[in-house]
Each structure stands twice: as C-alpha cells, then as structure tokens.
C-alpha cells in the first residue's frame, strides 16, 4: 500500500464500558486504536463477546464512548452535534446488523422496511420512484419484487438478512459497518453479497468495517484485518500477512480452528484447540488478556500488559513473545 492513502477513520484508544451495577464495570472495548483508510475494507475478527459489535456501534455513535476518539473525515464523531448534523452523519454511516430476526419490524412489509431510510432522508420524490428503488434493491440482494409485499416472518433466516442489507444500502452511505452480515446466508448467496459489496465499494468508493467470524470470508474481502480478544486488539496486519504468518498465539489458534472445505485435509489436520472459555470482561485477567488460554504464557504475561509493537512493517502485534525484553527463552526454543 502507498502513502497516499487517505484516513477516513481514525480510532484512538477507544473505550466502551458498561456499568453492570454499582460495583461492576464491563470493559467491552478497552482501549483499541486503528485507522481505516478510504475505500478499504477493514476486517474485525475475534471470539464471541470480545467486543467487535460494541466497537462497531461505538464508532457509529450508536453508543457513547467511555473514552477515546473516533475521527471521521477528521471530525470527532463523539463531539457535540446538532440534530441536523447528526442526521447527516447518520446517513453517511450505516450499519448492517448481525441479527436478522431482531432488526426487522415484524409489522412492516419488506418494502416499507427497505424504504424507511429513503423516506426519512427524503431521497425519493414519488411513490413510483420509491417502488422502483425498492425493487432494484431487492434484486441487488438476490430477492425479487414479489417479496416486497410480504412480512419478515414469511422468510427464512438467510432471506431476512438480505432484507437488512438492502435497507442499509438504500441511503447510499460512505461508510458501512457490516456486523456479521453474511453469517446467516447460504454460501452461494454469501458469494453474491460479498461480490456485491466489493463491486459497490469499487463503484462508489465505499469503506467497510467488516465484522465476522468466518475467517476465510474475512480474508477474501478485507485489505487489512484486526484480531480482537476480550476488548483489546491482539494483532493488525494486511490480510495476506495475517494469514501467511500469524504472530499472536491467539491468531494462530483462530486460524487453526477454521474447518476447511476439504474432507481429506480435515481428517489429517492437527489443530490447536484452545481450552476453556473467554474470561469475563467484568474481571479480565491481569497483564495479557489471553494468558489464561495461551499455550506459551510466561511469567511476565500476568504482570505486564503487552503493547502493540510493529514487529514487521505494517504488522502489529500485542504479545510479549515479540518483545526483546521478555522473549529470550521463547526465541531460544524456536
């Protein structure tokens, strides 16, 4: 990548904590920093509950940040804004939601769901234009115009998710947070949607934050990928580098866990199976948050929180195994 790339978003030490009760704070996102360049797809992966959706939502200001900054076009998203500014902002940043069931109003027809954004932002002039736009959008996401008059409950899981995508695309945003947009879709439709997202990106210079747990699809669609673990960022690299040479032990385990669509390979493969669950973000482990499951944990890992190091150009990792102050023993074993 060259130096001319333009930062569309700059996320600096972003934190989002939830107050559970008087004594407990849940550190859903606990100080993550990364940039998203204009026209790129930044993939965000990590285990369930690690804070991906919260990060996405806080970036869009669907949640107020606890600390840190999100600069969009150089402007702090979390600064004070008038209603009008917020509305404009809402149109340029859209979200495709993870849960196709909860995000669609069961009492509205599919047509009205998709057209809601068009109506709010006054993007269509006549009823005929509205219908035409909706039909185009339905077709874009692999449905047909007859589907417009039906209700969400009449659709299968995959079909409902496509409705959500059509809704987000309706207002022509600059930046889309796609939160697991294809997890519920059949692969042939996943491919259509991913090809579509890539095509739309090329045509309109869209920028995506693509949240997913399907790592092969993340690799396919993303220019760069960030790996989150328990509210923190473990590793950031271009998708090629990340998959060729994962540095963080968590990334290594994550890649090894992907089942590959090749029965012979699956039968002969050795996996790193991580033990146990992700610890609670209410009371995260001291030092490195991955240490309780890490096969390489050292004494220092419980005491010092690793900082993100640029181990190779553009390849960042937060792990003491790559810090020369602590890694003598590990290096000797390699």
């Amino acid at each position: 990548m060259d130096n001319t790339r333009e930062k569309l978003l700059e996320i600096k030490n972003l934190q989002k904590h939830f107050n559970i009760d008087r004594n407990n704070v849940l550190r859903a996102v606990d100080g993550i920093s990364f940039d998203i360049y204009k026209g790129e797809t930044f993939g965000l992966v990590g285990e369930s509950g690690c804070g991906k959706s919260t990060a996405g939502r806080t970036i869009l200001r669907l949640y107020e940040a606890t600390a840190g900054e999100v600069n969009f076009h150089g402007e702090n998203v979390h600064a004070k804004k008038s209603k009008k500014e917020l509305k404009k902002f809402n149109r340029s940043m859209q979200m495709i939601f993870q849960d196709p069931y909860a995000s669609l109003n069961p009492r509205m027809t599919v047509k009205d769901i998709i057209a809601e954004g068009l109506d709010i932002h006054g993007l269509v002039k006549s009823k005929a234009e509205r219908t035409k736009r909706v039909n185009e959008l339905l077709e874009t996401v692999g449905l047909n115009s007859d589907h417009g008059n039906r209700y969400p409950h009449e659709f299968s899981g995959g079909q409902r998710q496509r409705i959500g995508i059509a809704r987000a695309l309706a207002v022509n945003p600059d930046f889309i947070v796609a939160d697991e947009p294809i997890s519920a879709l059949d692969v042939s439709i996943q491919a259509q949607v991913v090809n579509l997202l890539i095509r739309l990106q090329k045509e309109r210079g869209l920028t995506y934050l693509f949240i997913a747990h399907d790592l092969s699809m993340v690799k396919h669609i993303s220019d760069r990928v960030g790996v989150m673990y328990l509210g923190s960022m473990a590793e950031i690299a271009s998708s090629e580098m990340l998959y060729e040479e994962p540095l963080h032990p968590y990334t290594q385990a994550l890649l090894s866990a992907i089942p590959l669509p090749d029965p012979e390979v699956e039968r002969s493969r050795e996996r790193i199976i991580l033990e146990g669950d992700v610890p609670s973000p209410i009371n995260p482990p001291s030092g490195c948050r991955f240490r309780t499951r890490c096969p390489f944990a050292m004494e220092v890992c419980g005491k010092v929180t690793p900082e993100s190091i640029e181990h190779k150009p553009e390849h960042w990792v937060a792990c003491h195994l790559y810090d020369d102050r602590y890694n003598e023993e590990y290096k000797a074993k390699q």
Partner: protein, 342 residues
C-alpha cells in the same frame, strides 16, 4: 450400519398470504446409527422445515403435511398425536438450535431444565436427576458444573449455552440428534470444541446426527454423508468424499465454487447468479433451471429423476441422462490440496 430413520417422499406446505408455500417437496432420505448426515443447501430450500418435521415442530396451521411418511421404529411420525410426540421429543429424538436462547427457558436454571426431561422421560428422582445433570454438564465441558448447574441461561456465555443445550438434548440418550446450524452463531475456536464434543459423544452413545449447516468446512470436518437441498428437494446425495471430490449436480458445483478458498483472495467468487425459486410457485421442472448455466429445454418442463452415480451417490439432473451432452466438473468446483495456514 442399521437404519433408524426413513423419510419417504415427504412434502410440507405452508398456507400463507402469498399463497401455498411448498417448502419441502418430496424429500427421501435415511439415517443410520452412529452416522452424521449433513444437509446443506440454499437458504430457504427447506432444510429447517425438514428437520422440524421430524420433531413435529411445524406450526399446523399454517403448515401441513401434504404427503409422505417419517418412519421411526416402525411407526409413522406424521400420524402421531401431539401427546404421543411428547414421549418421543427430547427422549428419542432431540434437537439443538442455532440460537440456544430460543430453546432454553430464561426463567429456569440450567439444572432444572436438564432434570425436567430426566424426571419426565426416565422417572428419575429429583436428587438423581440433579446428579446426572452435573455429570452431563461435565461431559459437555462446563467447568465447575456443581456451581454452574444452579445458574440461569443468561449467566452462561454463548458457547456455554450451546453446550448446555447439547447437554439437555443428550440427557435421555436420544437415538437421533438434530442440530440445525448448531455452531453458526459461535466463534471458530468454540465451534471446533463443539464439533469435537459432538463427535466424541457420538462415538460413546451411537447417536445419529442430522447436521444442518451452510458451512462446507463443517461438513468436510464432521459429516459421513451429505444431502444437498435446493428448492424444497434433495438434488444430490452421497458420501462426503463423493460430494466434495466428484460432485455431479450443477448446484453442488455452484456451491463448491462460491466458497472463498483460503489460498487465493483476488479471484471473484463464483457466485450463482439469480435467486432461488419462489416456493409459492415453484418451477415445473428442475428447481435449479433458472440459475443453471447448463440448463436445457427438458429441464424447464420435467423434473429429472435420480440417477445413481455409485451405490451411495445419486443426483437429480438431466445432464446425467444418457441422451444429454457430457459436461465436465467446472474448475471452480474442484476441491483438493487445500493449503493449511497458521
């Protein structure tokens, strides 16, 4: 291998505002002891309706059995009363769902939910059921089960809920476990744990698993046999190796071609153009005809019969008719030599 379930020519429809939706149209398959049969296929192709039919979980109305039978232990499940089904559900045939929260009761402790089924189906005492509950939670890998058993579902993580649901499903050693997208909502490291767990339990108990998924990686990892569904029909079925290395149906080709291969990122995915048929008005002939690159005139008008490819593999496609032109498996659908990363 002994057969434990036989589904014959099953058809299920829904009476809806948009017309009669023919969700499942003449599906035939069998399930053997100790085996995992994966059902893959297009979204909306009838996988869940098929699975729910076996458990008689289809709301009727609007749903109805139009035709066919589901033979389990010599009896047709389509003819059972709700009362009779209650004795089978959770005892002989269990189901785990994609979203554990839809089947777990949020107001009841996990322990209570496990014991309930044991008390009901196995006449266990409260105390024994509690003990067995702890054993089951331990079996599915829940740490400190003596404490965890008294917690509510919301106090569990997503992966733990899925494991708890498996524990509940397996409480009475069912003959059949139906898993509808059991790991879709889970992260891959947890998915790997759950898949391992299901295999391990299958080894121990001989339970047959009907696995519905759209992740072909999961299929390659876990299935012995595969049924590919499209437009309410099974269009191809075979052993897992046959489906991956010698697929015969153009939809199976499309499915394999549309997966991202971890080793090449730049190529555009081979999406199957178009959308699945509207099951309120399904095509007269092959359901894939509108999207198939090889479609011929006959495909529009007549549904192809199954052609046997081997003893274990068959596909319903006119290309397999001896009068049809020979078509090679497209390059994009070729699987093999996948590079392992990490």
């Amino acid at each position: 291998m002994s057969k434990i379930l036989e589904v014959n020519d099953l058809s299920v429809s829904f009476d809806t505002y948009g017309g009669d939706v023919k969700a499942v149209r003449g599906v035939t398959f069998e399930l053997n002891e100790k085996e995992t049969l994966a059902i893959v296929g297009e979204s909306g192709s009838g996988k869940s309706v098929t699975a729910q039919s076996l458990m008689r979980l289809i709301p009727m109305p609007p749903g109805k059995f139009v035709n066919g039978s589901i033979i389990f232990k010599g009896q047709d499940l389509t003819e059972k009363s709700e009362k009779q089904m209650e004795a089978i559900r959770g005892k002989e045939i269990s189901m785990i769902f994609q979203d554990p929260m839809t089947s777990l009761n949020p107001t009841m402790t996990i322990g209570k939910q496990i014991s309930e089924s044991l008390i009901k189906h196995q006449n266990m005492s409260k105390k024994d059921a509690h003990e067995r509950g702890i054993e089951l939670l331990k079996l599915v890998g829940i740490p400190t089960p003596e404490k965890r058993i008294n917690q509510y579902p919301h106090e569990y993580s997503g992966g733990m809920r899925q494991r708890a649901m498996i524990a509940i499903a397996l409480a009475c050693n069912p003959k059949i476990l139906i898993a509808d997208e059991p790991t879709t909502a889970l992260d891959v490291t947890i998915q790997a744990q759950i898949m391992d767990l299901m295999k391990e339990l299958q080894e121990k108990t001989g339970t047959a698993i009907l696995l519905i998924t759209h992740d072909l990686g999961v299929v390659a990892n876990a299935a012995h046999r595969v049924a590919v569904m499209y437009g309410g029909k099974i269009v191809e079925t075979g052993d897992v190796d046959e489906i991956f290395y010698n697929p015969q149906h153009p939809y199976t080709w499309g499915l394999l071609g549309s997966m991202p291969k971890l080793d090449n990122r730049d190529e555009e995915l081979q999406a199957i153009p178009g959308s699945p048929p509207d099951l309120a008005d399904p095509p007269k002939g092959c359901p894939f005809v509108t999207r198939c690159p090889f479609a011929m005139k006959v495909c529009e008008n007549r549904m192809p019969e199954y052609t046997d490819v081997s003893n274990t593999q068959k596909a319903a496609c006119w290309l397999l008719d001896e009068r049809a032109p020979k078509v090679e498996i497209p390059e994009s659908a070729r699987v093999g030599g996948t590079k392992v990363h990490g």
